[in-house]
Amino acid sequence: MTSLQTEVLVVGSGAGGATTAAQLTGAGRRVTIVEEGPWIDPDAVEPFSLEEMVLKYRHRGSCATLGSPPVAYAEGRCVGGSTEINSGLWHRLPSYLSEEWRRAYRIDEFTDDVLDRYAEQVEEAQGVSRLPSAPPPSSATLERGATKLGWRAVEFPRVFRYDQQGRGVKQTMARTLIPRAVAAGATVIPDCRVLKLLTRGDQVTGAVCDRTRPDGSRERLSIEADFVFVCAGAIQSPALLQRSGFRGSIGRGLKLHPTVKIAARFPSPLDHAGVPMHRVTEFAPSLTIGGSVSRKGHIALALADSAADFRDALDDWERVYVYYAAIRGDASGRVVAVPGLSAPVVSYRLTDADMSRLARGLLHLGEVLLAAGATELYPSVIGGRVVRRLDELVSWWDALTRSSANLMTVHLTSSVRMGEDRERTGADSFGRVWGVRNLRVNDASLLPDAPGVNPQAAIMTIAARNTDHFLAHA
C-alpha cells in the first residue's frame, strides 16, 4: 500500500471540488484532489461526441434510478466532473429560492448579499457571458416559438469565453480552476476512487483509495489528511459517507429535474454542434423548456423513444433537433450504498402531480415547437403519437403514463442538504457533516432542493462561500 499525507483532501474535481481546491490553494493550504475518473485534455475530445460519453461519463452515460417510471441520469466521471460535459448554462440561485431554503432549513448566512458576493467572485474568475452575436438556429427557433405565443424566453449566459473572432470555449473546471489549483501547488490524482474515509473518534483521519496507475495496474492508496472535503456529487458523496459509516439524513432527500423530450423536425437544417442557450421561462420554476444536445446519435435515441417509425426522420436528421421540458417535482429520492456493490442504489418515485406536470410540460413543449414551425414531433413516450398539428397534442395527456414515459435528468442535488434543522440535514449551514469535526461536504448534495435550473452556478457559489468559512475557522 502506498501512502501519502496532505493537509486538505478534496474528493472529486467537479464544480464543487474544483472551486474548493482552487480557493484553498490560493490561501496557501496544501491540497490533494482525488478524482475517480481520468484526466483528459479538454481539447482532445470533441464536445458532446460519442467518444466524450465513453471517456467522461459514469457507466458511459447510462445510469437510472429505481422507481416507476425510472429516470435515466448522466454524471461526469473525469477531472472537472459534470462541468466537462454539460451545457455550461449559468443561472444564479433565484432569491426567492435562497429565501425559502434559508427559512425552511434554517441556513445561517444565506442571504442574497452574501450569495451575490460569492456569485460575482465566481463569475469573475470563470468568465460568464452572453453570445457576442446572433443565436444559432436551434436557439433562435425556441425564441421564435415563444415570441409567437407571447411566452417569456431568455437567453441564458454561459461559462464561455470568446476570442477575437467570436469563437467561444466553455470554461470547464479542467480548463480553469483545476490548472489554477495545480499552479498554486495542489496535487491531482486522477483514476483514483475513494473506497472509504477513515475515522477516529469524532474526526476523519484520511481515506483509503483504489488507484489505477497509468500502466493500468492498480494499487491501494492511503491518504492521511487533517481535513476532508467530499465533493463527489449528489450520488457519490452520500454513498461514500455511508460507506464510511455516516448515515442519519445522508442519502435522503435526493432531488432531480425529471425531463421529457421531443425530437422535432423542421423545414430547414439546424446547427448541431452546441446546445441552445435560450430557455422558455414562462412556466418557471415548476417547468422549464429548453434544447438538448442533438448530435446525430442523440437524435436517433430521442426518435427511438417514441417507438414510432422514425427512419424517414433519421435520414433527415440535420433538420431534426431535440428539445426538453424539465420539472421541479414534489418527489424526493434516496441514495443507499449497498455493501459489496460499487454503485449505490438510487431510488426516486414520482408523484401523480409530478406525472401530470411532465405531461403538461410535454404539451407546452409541443405547442412552442409547432409555433416555431416544426412539422413533426416525436415525444419521448412509448406509443405516443407523432404530432403534426396542434389539435393532436391533447392525446399526449393520456399517452404519458408511468409505464410509457422515457424520463431523464442531468441535474441531481440535495442528498445531504445543509442547514441547522438537524432532522432534515446531513450537514450544517456551511457543509460540516453533523458530528464530525473536520469533514465537510461541498457540492450539489448540499442544495436543500432542486433549483429548477442548471445548478452549476448555485453549486459553485455555495462552495466558494463554505470554503471561505473553512478558511476563517480552521
Partner: protein, 353 residues
C-alpha cells in the same frame, strides 16, 4: 401605454359584453350561464359533449357552446377565437375523479394553465377563477373560521391540485398578464345538482346517511345562486383583482342542523320523511375512512364514498367578511330556502329523491 392584458387604451368597461365560461355544463356552470345569458352579447361555453352543447344552446341566442377538453390547446384556442374583450369564468374542474388521482392534476392544474394562457393572449378583461376550500384543509376547532389570510394546508390530492391552480392564477396576476380574482366556495347546493347530491338528499330523507360524530362540527355551504352573485361581483369590483375571496352562505351550519334543515325542506315540499334519526357513527370511523382514503390515493386511486366519509368529521367553515366589505356581497338565500329550491328542481326534473 400598454396595459398588462395587452389592450392599449383605458380599462374596458365591466361587466364585459362577452363572457367565457369553462365547465359551463357543470353544476355551477349551468347556473352561471343562465345568469349571464340575458345580459351579454356572447357567452362562450366550454362543454365536454355535443349533448351538453345542445342542453345549453336552448338557454338563449347569446350562448355559443364549444365542445372540447379543457386540457386541449386547440379547443381552448377555439373557445377564445374572436371573442373580443371578455370576462373569463374558469369553473372547469374535477372534484371526484372517476378512478385515477392524476386526472385531478391534469384537469385542475393543466386546464387552468391553458385557460390562463389563452385568456391572456385574447386580452381578457378579467379572469374569475373558481377555487375551493380544499387548499385549506379543516379548521382546528368547531369555532374556527378560514379567512383570506389563512395558511394553505391542502386536503389530499384534490386540495393540492386546487392549490397549484390558485398559485398559477396568482402568478399570472403578479406577472401583469391578467386581472385575476380567486373565488373560494365551500360545499355547494342548489339546482342542476349532480347525481351524488341527489343521492345525498334521498339518503337523508330515508335516514340512511350517516352522521359522523356528534354533528356539532360546522360546515360552510353555499347556495349556487349566492355563488353566482359572488362571481358576478368579483367580475366588477374595483378592489378585487389580485385577491381571493371566500364566497359562502351568511354563516356556517352545524352538520346536524344541515341534516335537520334538509328534512324540513323535504317535508315542506310535500315529501314524506322518515321519523328515524340518522345513523350515527363515531368520529373514529371518519378518521379511519380518512386514513383509508389517503392510502388508496397514495396509490393513485380514488374512491368517492370513502373520501366523502373521511371529510365529514371535520369543521370546514369560512368567514365571508372580506367579500362583504370589498365585493359588496350579501348572500340573499339561506339553507332552508335554498334546499327547497334544490328539491323543487329535482322534482321538476324527474330526479329520484
Amino acid at each position: 401605454m400598454t396595459a398588462p392584458n395587452g389592450s392599449t387604451d383605458s380599462a374596458p368597461e365591466l361587466p364585459a359584453s362577452a363572457a367565457v365560461v369553462t365547465g359551463a355544463a357543470g353544476w355551477l356552470g349551468q347556473n352561471l350561464v343562465r345568469a349571464l345569458a340575458p345580459s351579454r352579447e356572447r357567452v362562450r361555453c366550454l362543454v365536454r359533449t355535443d349533448d351538453d352543447a345542445s342542453l345549453l344552446s336552448v338557454i338563449g341566442p347569446s350562448i355559443e357552446p364549444i365542445v372540447g377538453d379543457v386540457r386541449d390547446p386547440a379547443a381552448i384556442d377555439m373557445l377564445f377565437d374572436g371573442v373580443g374583450p371578455s370576462t373569463v369564468f374558469h369553473a372547469a374542474g374535477v372534484i371526484h375523479p372517476e378512478r385515477s388521482v392524476r386526472s385531478l392534476f391534469d384537469v385542475n392544474v393543466g386546464g387552468t394553465q391553458l385557460t390562463l394562457d389563452r385568456a391572456r393572449r385574447a386580452g381578457a378583461v378579467r379572469f374569475v377563477h373558481v377555487s375551493s376550500n380544499s387548499p385549506f384543509g379543516a379548521n382546528d376547532v368547531p369555532a374556527g373560521r378560514f379567512t383570506e389570510d389563512s395558511p394553505y394546508n391542502p386536503y389530499m390530492a384534490y386540495g393540492q391540485s386546487k392549490l397549484e391552480a390558485e398559485q398559477l392564477v396568482m402568478r399570472s396576476y403578479e406577472h401583469g398578464d391578467l386581472q385575476t380574482v380567486i373565488v373560494r366556495p365551500p360545499w355547494f347546493y342548489g339546482p342542476f345538482q349532480p347525481a351524488r347530491q341527489t343521492q345525498f338528499l334521498a339518503a337523508i330523507r330515508r335516514g340512511r346517511f350517516p352522521l359522523v360524530g356528534d354533528g356539532t362540527q360546522q360546515r360552510s355551504m353555499v347556495f349556487v345562486g349566492n355563488l353566482v352573485l359572488g362571481l358576478l361581483l368579483a367580475e366588477t369590483a374595483d378592489k378585487a383583482p389580485g385577491n381571493a375571496y371566500w364566497i359562502a352562505d351568511a354563516r356556517p351550519y352545524e352538520l346536524r342542523e344541515i341534516f335537520e334543515t334538509i328534512r324540513a325542506a323535504l317535508a315542506a315540499e310535500g315529501l314524506e320523511v322518515t321519523e328515524r334519526n340518522p345513523i350515527r357513527i363515531p368520529a373514529l370511523v371518519g378518521s379511519m375512512a380518512e386514513a383509508a382514503d389517503k392510502f388508496v390515493q397514495g396509490r393513485g386511486r380514488y374512491v368517492q364514498a370513502v373520501h366523502v366519509l373521511g371529510e365529514l368529521k371535520d369543521t370546514i367553515a369560512c368567514d365571508i367578511s372580506r367579500a362583504r366589505a370589498e365585493l359588496g356581497y350579501e348572500p340573499p338565500t339561506a339553507l332552508l330556502d335554498g334546499m327547497r329550491e334544490s328539491i323543487r328542481w329535482c322534482l321538476a326534473n324527474g330526479e329520484q329523491l
